[in-house]
């Protein structure tokens, strides 16, 4: 019977990480950053989320949409937790089309917390036209949509190199980035030192901005992560206690059994 159990565990070990190595190309191994949100106890670093939002707002959002987020999400628990007044002010920077009004006309108004994040382009054709034919992907789920997403995103933002190897063929619209499969990417290096002015005393280095915006996008992809882990612990503790009770109930029940069908 022990062999059966060992095989079962082996089977699990085989079955689980099947996808882990599916998408690695010839890119160098990803760095393993010590993210605040990793692990069963991990939660988002609130300040990093706010700084990361600033990086997204001032840099990324020029090309990348965040279509599944609403401005109101910025004040919800487990996120950057801006105050509602701050969220109102953030939303008011953007214009959305509303309507029709009582005359049947569409009209523009400042965005409200209930609105979705305003996309930089009206459609993907416009986005391509403005970006040399390349489509900047929506970032709402980007951390979940890449294997080892957070580390990948950090690597992508920090792996630009000025001088590509001389034998690499690349066009004017391409940039050399070691983290990108194929090492060529249409996006120009988005982060430059001090491109964003942080309101706390954190130096706006490329490394810090990359960490912060990755943290922000990890939250954007998993806005309920903190609640999920918290409930997870409650569920696990409940189940462990229940399992203990059932274990001893089983022991007691079977110890006293007689090999007879009771009436």
């Amino acid at each position: 019977m022990r062999i059966f159990a060992v095989t079962f565990i082996l089977a699990l070990a085989f079955a689980l990480p099947t996808h882990a190595n599916a998408a690695t190309g010839d890119t160098p191994p990803l760095p393993s950053i010590d993210w605040s949100f990793e692990g069963p106890f991990g939660s988002f670093d609130r300040d990093a989320l706010r700084r990361g939002f600033k990086v997204y707002q001032e840099v990324c959002s020029a090309c990348h949409s965040l279509q599944f987020l609403h401005y109101r999400n910025l004040s919800q628990t487990g996120g950057p937790e801006f105050t509602e007044a701050e969220v109102k002010a953030i939303a008011a920077n953007y214009t959305v089309q509303d309507g029709p009004d009582e005359f049947g006309d569409m009209f523009d108004r400042p965005a409200l917390p209930r609105d979705r994040f305003v996309s930089p382009f009206p459609n993907s054709q416009a986005a391509r036209a403005a970006n040399g034919g390349a489509l900047p992907p929506d970032l709402s789920l980007i951390v979940n949509a890449r294997p080892n997403g957070a580390n990948y995103l950090y690597a992508l933002l920090t792996s630009y190199e000025e001088t590509p190897p001389p034998d690499l063929e690349m066009s004017d619209t391409q940039h050399y980035n070691l983290a990108m499969p194929g090492a060529l990417i249409a996006m120009a290096p988005p982060l430059l030192e001090d491109i964003v002015e942080y309101s706390d005393n954190t130096p706006a280095t490329v490394d810090n901005m990359s960490r912060d915006v990755t943290t922000f996008l990890a939250w954007a992809a998993n806005p309920h992560m903190e609640q999920r882990k918290r409930i997870g612990f409650q569920v696990m503790i409940y189940l462990v206690i229940l399992a203990g009770l059932l274990y001893f109930a089983t022991k007691k029940l079977w110890r006293g059994r007689k090999w007879q069908q009771p009436e």
Binding site: I3, A15, H19, P137, P147, G232, W254
Partner: protein, 416 residues
Amino acid sequence: MSENNHSSSYTPRSALAKWIDKRLPLPRALHDNFSSFPTPANLNFWWTFGGILTVCLLIQIVTGIVLAMHYTPNSELAFSSVQHIMRDVNYGWLIRYVHANGSSMFFLAVYIHIFRGLYYGSYKAPRELLWMVGVVIYLLMMATAFMGYVLPWGQMSFWGATVITNLFSSIPLVGDAIVSWLWGGFAVGNPTLNRFFALHYLLPFVIVGVVLLHVWSLHVSGNGNPTGLDVKKVDKETVPFHPYYTVKDGFVIVMFLLLFAYFVFFHPNLLGHPDNYIEANPLVTPAHIVPEWYLLPFYAILRAVPSKLGGVIVMFGALGVLLLLPWLDTSKIRSAKFRPLYRQFFFIFLLVCLGLGWLGAQPAEGGYVIAARLLTVYYFAHFFVILPALGYIEKPKPMPASIEESLESKTKTEKL
């Protein structure tokens, strides 16, 4: 459901219960089948997976119905409606993660259940139909899971659906017509998503029906047990299902739920594929199209055969052979405990299946394909050469005379 060899011990207590018992003896059927049912006293851990699977099926149905209330089966809206569930529906993330990981847990449990059946010869007379009905449940589960995986309308959903439905195009003459009919168009699209949603909602209830047949058949022949011996003395060798196995199974079910919860709350996306967080795009093919882990062994078999039609036939053959298993195994001994040779081949077969699963996740090239071919040949040899031959050449180990004797010889610690 009372054709089994135990007489009903149900006694209606109230006048109302007597009145009902004369007209629709449902309480009696429930009592006889799920409370007093005589169950061998020597069942081990591996016999709890029937209960676990029932729990899995119920979890999938309940979470699935709630998801269907918020999901939109339209190719323009499906992906964002899933994000709506994940972000805006109260506890939508919990319900969806339970449902998505639930399918993996369901398959994990069903594979353990199937391999338990293989180890202990649970498919042998008089349980051939019980086994075959089980195989039908397994096939229905695969169809349901496949269609469920299409619904989020991510890249793997779309391309998985394209690859699998395209298998039917290998059928001579009518293949292409069948594929267009399945799609409801000339490619996987909105009509495909709509019908997959309808069928994904329907099939679980079909599974419930077939599970009832499975339980019915089980309750005619009675449970097998680790010795593989038939029950001779009901009073000495069996215990009533309740409370003995409801409590014992309850313990194992909770242990299983701990594993389940670990995935749901701490690694909810580990068993999924990152590409499914990218909305379906018919113009961009993912680098590697891989099915969910539980279908990988069959995917490896499919790709091991050089011809498309051949691959499809061999893949369905790998499933179909399970239906023939009761007649391919020529040994009269049920349990591998007393079959020294079969026991070794069982574990080799288990490793071959795991190996095929691993190969299914690798790119179909070079050494991987050769390995998949070798393992595919072994897979069929296990059923068509090894199992028939073993019955003739194997010398069984000495067996206890009865379940009672094996129970008495057990030490106290092993009893739980």
